[in-house]
């Protein structure tokens, strides 16, 4: 029974799916298992993964923040524009910080709107998605910046591990992967070991109970939106750094992959349930699916089909399993008590 419980944990299941998919693809096309492919897989995961962790943080508290891509692109483009105009020599870490701060600011707007208006977060952030992006394109600019600050170019070439492939080419693990892994670890520790992190789950599980326990629910929610904004800001900047150009038209529209990664990772869309490890594995699964279909030479439109099918399976199968376990004789809702007036 114990073993079955562990086996049925969502993280374990998704890990097994991940391994199965990798083995299948690797058997068909051995290129898949090359160091080059694995490194590029990880590099491709960083932006989606950071967005996904941010989305997950809000989701845990019971909110839905779909504006992350708009926040990311706004923070990234504003940061690059600022840097090009005023501080072309700023180091990458400073650019990262600036982008994160802009993200926090936009997240603060989200959080305050959601908590003050007491409006559904999905609708509010759909609104701010459009608002941030429209503001960006109208007031900041629409042109692609190709002459990015030197520190971004340097970062784009920074590898932490270098390996030599069979054909003699140098292959590196990109530095952005380190940021992704570090953020994953940090958020994992935060959600598991800090009182504030546990209160995220508490608020997502039962906000009324959280209020009665004396938690400041609104402040916790605003904090989650700000944290999601910061991660979106960093993700946005990394996306520009990887491509070495700042394009205000990117990212928005790619939300599906991120939300799919979070849901595949086992987070409940109603909030309160899920883990960062699940999100991490979900991200890998999404990127792996996209990547392996390319390797197998399947047309890219099938990527959408595959992700959609996995998403429905991930949500549907647990529901079916639960319904089956509930079926059987009528549920024991009747009361045993027999009242007498004697």
């Amino acid at each position: 029974m114990r073993f079955r419980d562990i086996l049925l944990r969502h993280e374990v299941l998704i890990f097994l799916v991940l391994v199965l998919l990798a083995v299948t693809v690797g058997t068909i096309n051995p290129v898949f298992f090359s160091i080059f492919n694995i490194f590029s897989l990880l590099k491709n995961s960083t932006v989606i993964g950071l967005f996904a962790i941010g989305f997950f943080l809000v989701l845990v508290t019971g909110g839905l923040d779909v504006s992350f891509a708009a926040v990311g692109v706004t923070a990234m483009y504003c940061t690059v524009k600022l840097a090009v105009a005023f501080f072309p020599g700023a180091p990458f870490i400073v650019l990262c910080a600036v982008s994160a701060v802009i993200g926090v600011f936009l997240g603060l707007i989200n959080g305050l709107l959601v908590t003050k208006l007491r409006a559904p977060s999905l609708i509010v952030t759909l609104g701010t998605l459009s608002l941030f992006r429209g503001f960006l394109l109208f007031f900041v600019g629409t042109d692609v910046v190709r002459l990015v600050p030197q520190s971004i170019n340097d970062f784009a070439r920074t590898n932490v591990i270098t390996a030599t492939a069979a054909n003699g080419a140098h292959i590196g693990l990109h530095a952005s992967v380190v940021i992704f892994v570090a953020v994953t670890a940090g958020v994992f520790l935060f959600l598991r070991y800090t009182t504030l992190g546990r209160s995220f789950y508490a608020v997502g599980g039962n906000p009324i109970a959280a209020r009665r326990m004396g938690m400041n629910v609104a402040a916790i929610e605003v904090f989650a939106y700000c944290a999601a904004g910061a991660l979106a800001g960093i993700a946005g900047l990394l996306s520009a750094a990887i491509l070495r150009l700042a394009n205000p038209q990117t990212l928005v529209g790619s939300e599906l992959d991120v939300i799919a990664a979070v849901v595949l990772g086992g987070a409940a869309i109603t909030g309160g349930r899920g883990s960062v490890i699940g999100v991490f594995l979900g991200t890998l699964l999404i990127v792996l699916t996209n990547n392996s279909l390319i390797i197998l030479g399947i047309p890219s439109s099938w990527q959408k089909v595959a992700i959609g099918a996995m998403l429905i399976a991930a949500i549907g199968l647990p529901l079916l399993a639960r319904r089956r376990s509930l079926a059987g004789p009528s549920s024991p809702s009747e009361d045993l008590a027999v009242v007498t007036s004697s």
């Binding site: 599980g205 109970a209 009747e334």
Partner: protein
């Protein structure tokens, strides 16, 4: 027990654990509490009774510090605590166990107990190593016996209640206010809860037991305080107090539980409903009975006796595997609920919140939802005024207490919600009305009102089936009672020719 009354200036030896003095509270001009003075001594088990809207909840909220009173003061250990925050009151040992328990369904039982505790101690990092033993100790103290690592969402109602009590205990609770703690518990679970309360009271922890179940109040409480319309109408030791006196204090009138006078019905009247040899795999077998026009038929039996399955079967939820059903002499082919509805059979479920009502919809929408085709104009429109008039008619007839039919149903008290469900089905003019535990969770006054409605409908010729655990209720409203056991009807008694003791005996024989 020490009795002290501040108006008489007679002080007790030690200050009371909790005392409210001349509490006033009004909402939008409507008085919710006026001049309420209560006292709770250490180790005392006190009942706070009253109908819905009597001011019980307001008083609890003021004690919890969630609401502040317009006038009056609150003392804990003789110290004025009126202006203190809810968190400070928790720290002073005052804990409310709400009806919904206010637990976190996504967290484990253990974490539900230790997390709030560690938060109140202003820890930044949680320690599971510290928390788990704390949770375990509190849990053992109340005799909990299930895996604390299970998420609360997988626990039964009584297990959730134990978690809530354990959570209060780790905060060094000295006063536990329990809001309707027995509503969703079985008889045995109630006894377990009472055992816990007695043990903790023996250790000096006080309880305020908010309830309108008079028998339970009589069993567990030492003293009763009754509120009615925001005023205290009774404050006496339980010993020597009769149930009727409490009921009178709650309602302001005498509530009779005597049988309704029934006119003897003609034996040859054609039955409204006749069922023959109804069977359903595992649930019930060979159930046959008839229900006359204007007859009220009771269905008694223990959990799993099949009584709910049978009545749901007649409504098509799911239909029986075999057997015949006739309504007014016409055979009914029952494949789904739609067939039952077409034959004018109505079923009012026991769980009105999940099965019966659209909680966020207005009262009027909830009432007219079954009668839309009748309200439609020839062109297929439903005008707001028609809808409103229809709803108003039923609100008046069933005396639903609301300021406007446009308010959501969730704004109503339990008893009034149950009336809305009844109104909906009665508005559709059923021939057969099936009521599953119609008065669960409603107070004594509303209960009596619902019984009146059942009698009125029967007088109009509707055939009524009442499923209930409450034998006095069945004895009061029914003409005949069928007792079910293990999926079969084992006895049929005419109420005027039987006694409650006899039926009780038949019902509980299956338990042995």
């Amino acid at each position: 027990m020490q009795v002290s009354d501040p108006r008489e200036g007679r002080a007790s030896l030690a200050p009371a654990l909790l005392r409210t003095v001349e509490m006033d509270k009004a909402y939008a001009g409507a008085k919710a509490l006026s001049g309420v003075t209560i006292e709770v001594q250490a180790g005392e088990v006190l009942a706070l009774a009253g109908e819905n809207g009597s001011g019980k909840s307001t008083l609890i909220k003021i004690i919890a510090g969630v609401e502040s009173p317009d006038a009056g003061s609150l003392f804990i250990d003789g110290v004025d605590w009126t202006r203190r925050s809810p968190v400070e009151r928790i720290e002073a040992g005052v804990q409310i166990i709400y009806q919904d328990f206010a637990l976190f369904p996504n967290l484990s039982a253990a974490e539900n107990i230790w997390l709030p505790y560690q938060m109140h101690r202003r820890r930044r990092l949680v320690s599971r190593g510290d928390g788990r033993p704390v949770a375990k100790r509190a849990f053992d103290e109340i005799g909990g016996a299930f895996d604390l690592d299970l998420p609360v969402s997988q626990l039964s109602v009584s297990q959730k209640q134990l978690v809530a009590i354990a959570r209060a205990l780790v905060h060094d609770a000295r006063l536990l206010i329990m809001d309707e703690p027995t509503t969703a518990l079985t008889h045995r679970e109630v006894q377990h809860l009472f055992a816990i309360i007695r043990r903790l009271a023996g250790q000096g922890i006080s309880f305020v037991f908010v309830s309108h179940k008079l028998q339970e109040v009589a069993e567990i409480c030492e003293r009763v305080i009754v509120l009615r319309n925001g005023r205290k109408t009774l404050d006496r030791p339980m010993a020597g107090l009769r149930e009727a006196e409490i009921a009178h204090a709650m309602t302001g009138r005498d509530i009779g539980m005597e049988r309704y006078p029934r006119s003897p019905r003609l034996p040859d009247a054609a039955p409204r409903l006749a069922v023959r040899q109804l069977s359903h795999a595992r649930e019930y077998r060979n159930v046959s009975f008839t229900l006359g026009a204007g007859e009220v038929l009771g269905l008694a039996g223990l959990l799993g006796s099949g009584r709910t399955a049978v009545v749901k079967g007649i409504f098509g939820l799911p239909p029986p595997d075999s057997g015949e059903i006739e309504v007014d002499g016409r055979p009914l082919v029952l494949r789904s609920v739609a067939d039952a509805l077409a034959a004018d059979i109505a079923y009012v479920p026991e769980d009105r919140l999940t099965e019966g009502l659209f909680l966020n919809f207005s009262i009027s929408d909830n009432i007219v939802v079954r009668t839309l085709d009748r309200l439609m104009s020839p062109a297929g429109w439903i005008t707001a005024s028609r809808k409103r008039n229809e709803a108003k008619r039923w609100i008046e007839r069933l005396a639903i207490k609301t300021q406007s039919p446009d308010l959501p149903v969730s704004s109503l008290s339990g008893g009034n919600q149950q009336r809305v469900v009844l109104a909906r089905w009665i508005a559709a003019h059923p021939r057969v009305l099936i009521l599953n535990r119609p008065t669960v969770g409603v107070d004594v006054g509303s209960k009596s009102g619902i019984h009146d409605i059942i009698m009125e409908l029967a007088a109009e010729g509707v055939g009524v089936i009442v499923v209930s655990d409450d034998l006095p209720e069945l004895m009061r409203v029914c003409d005949r009672i069928l007792v079910m056991r293990n999926g079969a009807v084992v006895a049929e008694r005419r109420v005027e020719a039987s006694s409650e003791t006899e039926i009780m005996r038949i019902v509980s024989e299956s338990a042995s």
